[in-house]
Every structure is written in C-alpha cells, then in structure tokens.
Symmetry: C2
C-alpha cells in the first residue's frame, strides 16, 4: 500500500513530462487512463469540481457537472431532483494545548458541531480512554470542562470496525453534552498516523444541547495522551483552547442526479444502483465517493455494450449522504411509484472487490450461483452474511423490499483516508478501479438480463 | 514502513490501557521503552516542549529543557551559549485556486518568505515543470504573475536527491523574483502523498527582492498540474489566492547547549558529536532532530559505561540549524581555542544506520578497520565516498581540519516526513533508535579510547 501512496504521483510525473514551459492546457495526463469512463469521472469530479459539501454551492456545481456528464455519456432521463437539507457551514478549525506547554493540534469540527465564539474557548481537559469510560462519568462531572475521548480505531478488511469505533464520533459529543461538558474532542475515527483529522457527522438528538465538537488526528491524540502520562502528580492541569466556528444551517439546497439506461422490456422492474455525489470538504472526495459514482456508471454503460439489457438500469448519484442520507430518503419518497427489483451501491472506496453477498429469495439461488460463477475469475468469493445496500439505496430497498447484491471492497486502508484532507485522486489505483468496474459489469449483465422474478428473501 | 506508521499507535494503545477513567497522570506509556535515555529524550522533547522554531520562545524553553536533562544525565560543563539570529515568525498559511474552479490548497510558507498583505494576494499562475524551465523563462515574463514550479522529488536511501530537488526550494523563489513574479509556489521537496506541505528555508540573496514563497503538498501540486491539463484551449486562466503572512525578523535569540563527558587524558583532542535542538514549527521535530540528540547523547553515556574513555566526548545540541546553520557557526567561533580530533553528527532521522564512511588520514586506516569490524555485526557496511559531517559540526571540522566519521541512516522515507506536520513521535521505531545508539556507542568506544593521533586526510 505504501507504494500506491508514494510520490511523485502519476499526475506529477506526467505533468513534468508533458507540460512544456509554455502552457499546453489541452494535454491530458500521460499515464492516466485516457478515455476511460470511470477514471474520467473520478478525475473530473475531483479536478473540475473538487470538494462538494452537501448543501453548498460546490455541491450544486457538482450536480450540474454530473448532469452534463451523464447526458454526454448517453444516459436517458437525466435530471436533478432537488430537496432541502439541514446543512453545515465550515468555519475556522483551530486548537492548541495551552498547558502544561503550548502545542498546536490538527483538528476538524465534526458535522453539526455547535460553534465556539470567534475568539474561541479554553478549558481544562478531562481524559477518557473510551466511549464506555465517558458514559460512566458521573452526572455533572464534566461541567465547564472539555472532554477528550481517546478511543483508537482498528483497521479491518470488511470495515466492520466503523460501527463500534464510529460511535465515539456519532454519540460521544451528545453524551459529553449531557454530562455538562463545554466542548468535546475525540481521537479521529480513522486508522492512519498522519496529521489529518477525520471529520464526519455527529448527532445531537432532540433535547440535547449541541456543543463544540472536534476530532484531532491520531498523532495529536497520542500527544494529548502522552501529555497526561508525562504530567507529574500535582502538576498543572491539561488545558485546551478551541476555535471551531462551523455551524449548522437549515434549508440549504441539495439534490439527487438520476439517469437511466432504458431496458428492452419496460414492464420488468428496474435495477437501481447508487453512489453519492456529495463529499466532505477537507479533501476532494475521491474515494468517498467519486469512485463509487465512477464505478457504477462505467459498469452500467459496459453492461449495455452489444445491446440494451432487458431491464432498465438506473443510476442514482445521491446528494447529502454525508449529512444524514438525505438523498436516499428523497429518492425513495419521489420514486415510490417506480417499480424496482434490486438495489446495489458502491460507497467504500476504490480498492478491489473481494467478496459478494446476496439478499435474495430462495428461488433466486440459481441467479446467485450464476453471478458467483461470473465473479470468481476476478478473485471475488462469496461470503457469509446477508448483503445490505448502502445509505443511498437502503430507503428504496426497505420501502419496496428489494433484492440486494453487495460487492464488498477491501477496506483495510479505507479509514486511513475517509473524511480527511487526504481523500484525493492520487490515492486511487486505476487497476483497482478497473477491477471494480469489471465486477459491477459482470453482475449488471446478468441481473439486467434476468427475465424471471428477482425477489428479496 | 506502512505498519510502522499505522495507527493506533503505541501511545494510543497504552493510554487506553493504562489511563483509567479517573486521571492517573504519573503513568508512563505502557509499551514505550521506559528508562531508555534515547527514547526519553525524543519523547520528552516532543511532548514536554514540542515544536521549537529557531529564535522562538519555544526554542528557549527547549534549551532550558536540554540543560536540565543533560545535567540530570551526569554530563559536566553543561552550558547554554547564546547568539542572535535572523529569525522567521510564522503567520497565516492559506491558499486556494480561484479559477477555473475554487479549490482549497494545503500550503506552508517557506522560511524567509516575504509576507503577503493580511488580506492576501491573487494572481494568474504560470506553470513550470522544473527549476530549469523556470530558469529559462524570459526576463520580465513573470511580471505580476505567480510562478508554480512542479518539480517532484524522488526518494532514495542515501538522501542524495535532497541536493538537486531541494534546489527548487532553496533557489526557486529568488529566480522567480528576478523574473518579476509577485509570488512563487513550489511542489514540496518531499516524497510522500499526504496533504502535508514541506517547509524549509529559502534564500533571497543580497539584492534580490524577497517575495511570498510557499510550498504545496504533493496531492495539491498534482491538482494544480491536473487543473492545467484539464483546461480547454482558450479556457479561463488558472488563478491562485495566497495569504502567507509569515515574516523574517532580525536579532532573535538562539543558542547552543553544550555538555561534556570528560576524558581521562585532557591533553588529547576531544571528540565532538552534534545534533540540532531547533525544529521546524509544523510538527514536533521528532525525526528532525530530537532523534539525533537522543542518539548521540545516549551513545556518549553508554560509551563511558565501565569507566571514562581517554578522550573527552562533547555533545553539541545546536540551535538554529534550520534557518541557516547558525549554531554550528557560533560553536566554531566560540570554541576555536578548544582542541578537537574528530567530528560526527546525527541529523537524518531515526531509521537504521546502514553504512559508515570515513574522512581519515591514511595513517588511521587501522582505526577505520577496527570501527568497521565493530559495526559489521549491526548490519552496517562501508561505502564509497568520503564522510562529511552535518551542518552543526561542519564549521569546526573545516576550521580545525578534523577527521570525520559518517554513520549513514536509511533515508528512503525521511523525506516523507521532513519539515512537515507529520514529523511526530509515532514515526520513530524504538528498535531502529536502539540500532542507532548501538552503532554510535560502538564507534565512540573506539575513537574516544584511541591514544594515537586521529587526523583528517
């Protein structure tokens, strides 16, 4: 993996080779896969749009970009379906230890953090090794204090650690608020060791007062932990200054971009495949989730090479996934009248697909076997457990009780990059992106040409 | 290498295990090497002082910390020798592309950059793939423009790429200024692919007007290059907004910390071993260069275990290396009257020593052979080329024509971290630090007990 991330990157090498002293702007990068639908989408979105935080002007530009690109690629019924969201507007992110010694900290506000005043706040830090330790703190014991929760995430291939470890981010701030904390800082829910904090939404549920909530990078969390460990008994308390001026904002505009490849038999329920167009704002949203939109879109086009399949394939580039799955909910509501058979999503980066899972009726066992056989040559195995869709297709899957196929990507390094400034194009290996497109193409060719009923368990 | 950098780090795991809900601040980290002189120095400097930019109040605190620690370790004649420097005061570092689309860029001002106004500057970007391309630009052609130099550094084990690639940073800004540029941005002289720019000093030689000068991270440089490549002919120019408010400042206080382990025969010229105490301000100066001070100091102490050697060993923790080698110059001037035999330095991180080089008189061949034989069991080989000292001992080596031994560390990943926010304690592998201390100890035991003349070629 190190080599994959090593500089000089392809873009650097090719730019140096190709761009002469006098600018030749029409040149594409030399060793990037030119004319490759998937690569062009992920390179285009990250370069020509960049970060596209849900609700922002940038997300609106991303929708326009997506609409134009999907039309140019030959999709039918390309449209934007707008909806309002409770958004989040990024402000200043700054933190430093004040005592026992001054130390700068790399921090990001969590989504839906309350803002500090512009001049910041300062307070004594209370150390909690885990979310459970925070939960066990006595009522009122954090009054006027800043809680620090030092719960370190472990990497694993299937990403299953994100559930429990991610709870520090999702639940920790609300718990600290209930205990009286003036603010909360968590160790990033991430598996890297770079000075790049991981953002992501937190939840102040009804009745709980939002407080400033931030995440520091892993090396900064180490430093805070070490600062406590190096303190002498009776020494100065650890004090932290925080300036986190981001704020939530109601009624911001978002929207889904939807496009169809019409099937030969419109009476058959369609296949809906999803990704999300919005990204967090620290990076350029390459693996999360331009890659997903690139993979599903390229595969849908490849699946119709040689002739349209029986069933319509619909691509959903959802808006506002990161801030709470608004796009998926809006889709399910707006398209309750459309007949769907099966839902799938790509939203776990751009590393290789290593397993397939199904949520199929028993009667569809032969269909599953056919798909498994088509995937085996790509190094993809079946795995125990029932497929679930991603955030953007789950609402329609739940509403219409759809069958699901899950193509599981290797997530060992996903949480090195997820929601950080480091989510940039250079982290994507074109060969791995190709493998994803090949796997999706194989699946879509089979399911979109299935004349029989495709049903959920 | 990836595992070495992988989180959760030692500090995280141990803090979670050891720090209970109620703070127990006297606990040390569980699996860090307790009571180990080298580890304690590097952990102490990074945790109890942190960044220590030359000339700053933090560097002054570092000198006090060093003085107290060297005394506590039993060194004699521990003293601080002050000198004034032309310093650099960090301000705001911000940059973004304005056109063709807005994109945030991760940037740092280079040392001795001129400040922009507080509200920043904006200009059209001229693209140069290399320093040579910049040099070839016609006089005046950059008038009112911002130069971008996209020269990507390659990693190599002996660090020899830093000479040529580092020239983009050292010389590029002055060349751009002469061509009329309003500002200059370079691709970081670094080998990683993270959103961490690499700072470092640049040189506006006499008569050349300082201009704002910054370095963007490798992924950001990729983005700028791709932005040029994606532009349509006749499209909007690439425009950049820069706010870099750091500024140079004269007459700032710095100083060296010097300590001796007196030898049994004061008539013999001493061994001087160097490192530097100052660091860049983006990280906490773990590999650059707390590690060096840790290695030489621990080794000096180990070399006298079982009895003082014949010759005095002097440790020089130099100030203001990063801003131009002030500490080494001050040492050579202040100690012109002291008799030295040999100089050595550790200033290339904390990875393993893989080679030894000598700058010895022919008559010292047997001494070199003895040292080589002692180093072979540690996996260290001799290598072609003449040893040179580091920045902090070179002036005294040159002034007194000293012999030199160079213990070369593996620098393959050094420029992933060098001068970045990522230069933090978690990047140091205690086993590699140990190997360095063992190598230095083996060398010092031999040279400090050499009764015969030790002479330069």
């Amino acid at each position: 993996m190190r080599n994959k991330f090593a500089a000089p990157t392809r873009a650097a090498a090719s730019a140096a080779a190709l761009l002469s002293l006098v600018l030749v702007p029409q040149l594409a990068m030399a060793d990037e896969p030119k004319g490759d639908v998937a690569w062009d989408i992920v390179a285009g979105l990250t370069t020509e749009v960049g970060e596209r935080l849900a609700g922002s002007e940038a997300e609106a530009r991303a929708r326009s970009w997506a609409e134009a690109r999907l039309k140019a690629l030959g999709f039918a019924n390309v449209r934007v379906e707008g909806f309002p969201i409770r958004g989040f507007v990024r402000g200043i992110d700054e933190a430093h230890l004040v005592a026992p010694v001054p130390q700068h900290l790399a921090i990001t506000a969590l989504g839906y953090s309350a803002p500090t005043p512009a001049k910041g706040i300062e307070g004594e830090v209370m150390y909690f090794p885990s979310l459970d330790a925070l939960k066990a703190a006595p009522a009122g014991s954090l009054s006027g204090k800043i809680a620090f929760v030092d719960h370190a995430m472990r990497a694993n291939q299937d990403g299953s650690g994100y559930g429990p470890y991610g709870n520090v981010r999702r639940q920790g701030p609300a718990i600290a608020s209930k205990l009286g904390a003036m603010a909360v800082v968590i160790r990033s829910a991430g598996t890297d060791s770079h000075r790049n904090p991981h953002t992501g939404a937190t939840n102040f549920t009804d009745g709980i007062k939002p407080i400033p909530a931030g995440a520091v990078s892993n090396p900064d969390a180490d430093l805070i932990a070490r600062t406590f460990a190096h303190m002498q008994p009776g020494g100065k308390p650890v004090r932290l200054a925080l300036t986190l001026t981001s704020h939530a904002q109601d009624k911001m505009p978002s929207g889904n971009v939807i496009a169809d490849l019409p099937g030969r038999d419109p009476s058959l329920p369609m296949i809906v495949i999803g990704c999300h167009l919005d990204s967090w704002d620290l990076g350029t949203g390459a693996i999360d989730n331009a890659a997903g939109c690139a993979i599903i879109t390229a595969a849908a086009l490849k699946a119709q090479e040689g002739g349209a399949p029986l069933r319509t394939i619909r691509v959903l580039w959802a808006g506002s996934e990161e801030l709470g799955g608004y796009g998926g909910d809006a889709y399910a509501k707006a398209h309750a009248g459309d007949k769907h058979a099966l839902g799938m999503e790509s939203d776990f980066g751009a590393d290789r697909v290593w397993r397939v899972q199904y949520a199929f009726a028993d009667a569809n066992k032969p269909l599953a076997d056919k798909i498994t056989a088509a995937l085996n040559p790509l190094g993809i195995v079946t795995s125990a457990g029932k497929a679930d869709g991603g955030t953007d297709v789950e609402p329609i899957i739940a509403a219409q009780k759809l069958a699901v196929i899950g193509l599981g990507q290797d997530g060992t390094h996903y949480f090195d990059l997820h929601h950080t400034p480091d989510d940039t194009l250079d982290k994507i290996d074109p060969a791995m992106l190709d493998q994803n497109v090949a796997a999706w193409t194989a699946v879509l060719k089979i399911v979109a040409n299935e004349a029989g009923v495709i049903a959920a368990p």
